[in-house]
């Protein structure tokens, strides 16, 4: 990893999000971040992205802005299916 390369730093920041950064790379990227404010900002923004994704996982209701849902016919069909569960048929 080239210590002056923002491209390498960006890859390393990504790897750190997945917990896959080797010790050596971690040292190099730390040095790079010390001298590169642009990559420091990039790292903060990637961490923000991670937080946003995690929030999305916790609140899947928000995933769809248009409140789509099952059609009435499907609901009735599923309802019947669940009600008749003890039937031998």
């Amino acid at each position: 990893m080239n210590i002056f390369s923002c491209k390498h730093a960006a890859t390393a920041i990504n790897e750190s999000l997945d917990g896959r950064l080797s010790l050596r790379k971690r040292m190099v990227v730390r040095l790079h971040l010390m001298m590169c404010s642009q990559c420091r900002r990039f790292k903060r923004q990637m961490l923000f992205l991670r937080r946003a994704t995690q929030k999305l996982t916790r609140l899947p209701e928000q995933e769809s802005q248009t409140q789509i849902g099952l059609s009435t016919e499907t609901k009735i069909r599923l309802q019947k299916m669940l009600q008749n569960r003890d039937d031998p048929s």
Binding site: N2, F4, S5, C6, K7, H8, A10, T11, N14, E15, L17, D18, R20, Q38, C39, R41, F42, R44, Q45, M46, F48, L49, R51, A52, T53, K55, L56, T57, P60, E61, Q62, E63, S64, Q65, Q67, I68, G69, L70, S71, T74, K75, L78, Q79, M81, L82, Q83, R85
Partner: protein, 216 residues
């Protein structure tokens, strides 16, 4: 002194056991398959739609989920809510569905080089346009409905297989080796694709949300 400690220990244990029993009874009462469609139907459907995007498939997956849940109702431990439990089953159904799809159609070609990602950097591997200032409190955006709408649009713009990998890993929290099996890709490829997806999402939010007033 020692016997007091023992007595205290058993008292605490007793309370815990009794508490747990009461909880389980409560949860057993709360499980009511006839309410599933009304209470969770739309939610499960939306969840499936957000991953698959086809009405008929989503409906079918919801049906399979409910049937599966019905069959395994005794295994519901009450460690989670009914909804979390149903979503967990749905996630397995989704994985099965994607796996079957993969068998049917050939994989889209993985590009070795990602010229889009390369274009972010100049020949000296520095940022072509440095990351923009996102303001002092970008987290406020997380409370904004418009932000989520942009977020979804951006997710939708990521190339298909990249997006699929990203969703399975980051949204569904599937283990890496499981995703590799389902999508038939190598681990190395998986991480590369997640990396690329993140970069695209980042750039898209940057342009469509943080540029302009939201950064203030």
């Amino acid at each position: 002194m020692f016997s007091w400690q023992i007595l205290f220990f058993f008292t605490v244990c007793g309370f815990t056991v009794r508490g747990r029993r009461v909880d389980q009874q409560k949860l057993a009462l709360r499980i009511d398959p006839e309410q599933w469609v009304e209470e969770h139907g739309d939610f499960l459907f939306r969840f499936a739609m957000s991953r698959i995007g086809k009405v008929d498939v989503a409906e079918e997956l919801v049906q399979e989920t409910l049937l599966s849940a019905l069959r395994s109702i005794d295994t519901f431990q009450g460690h989670s809510t009914e909804r979390t439990w149903l979503v967990a089953i749905l996630k397995r159904k989704l994985i099965d569905y994607i796996r079957k799809q993969k068998k049917r159609c050939t994989l889209s070609q993985n590009e070795r080089n990602d010229s889009w990602a390369d274009s972010l950097f100049d020949e000296r591997e520095r940022w072509k346009s440095p990351p923009r200032n996102w303001g002092s409190r970008p987290e406020l955006s997380l409370e904004n409905e418009e932000f989520w709408s942009v977020f979804h649009t951006c997710l939708g713009k990521i190339p298909k297989q990249m997006a699929e990998t990203f969703r399975l890993r980051e949204l569904d929290d599937q283990p890496a080796n499981e995703i590799c099996k389902v999508l038939q890709i190598s681990q190395e490829n998986l991480w590369v694709m997640i990396h690329r997806a993140r970069l695209r999402l980042w750039k898209c939010l940057d342009i469509n949300w943080f540029e302009g007033e939201h950064a203030k």
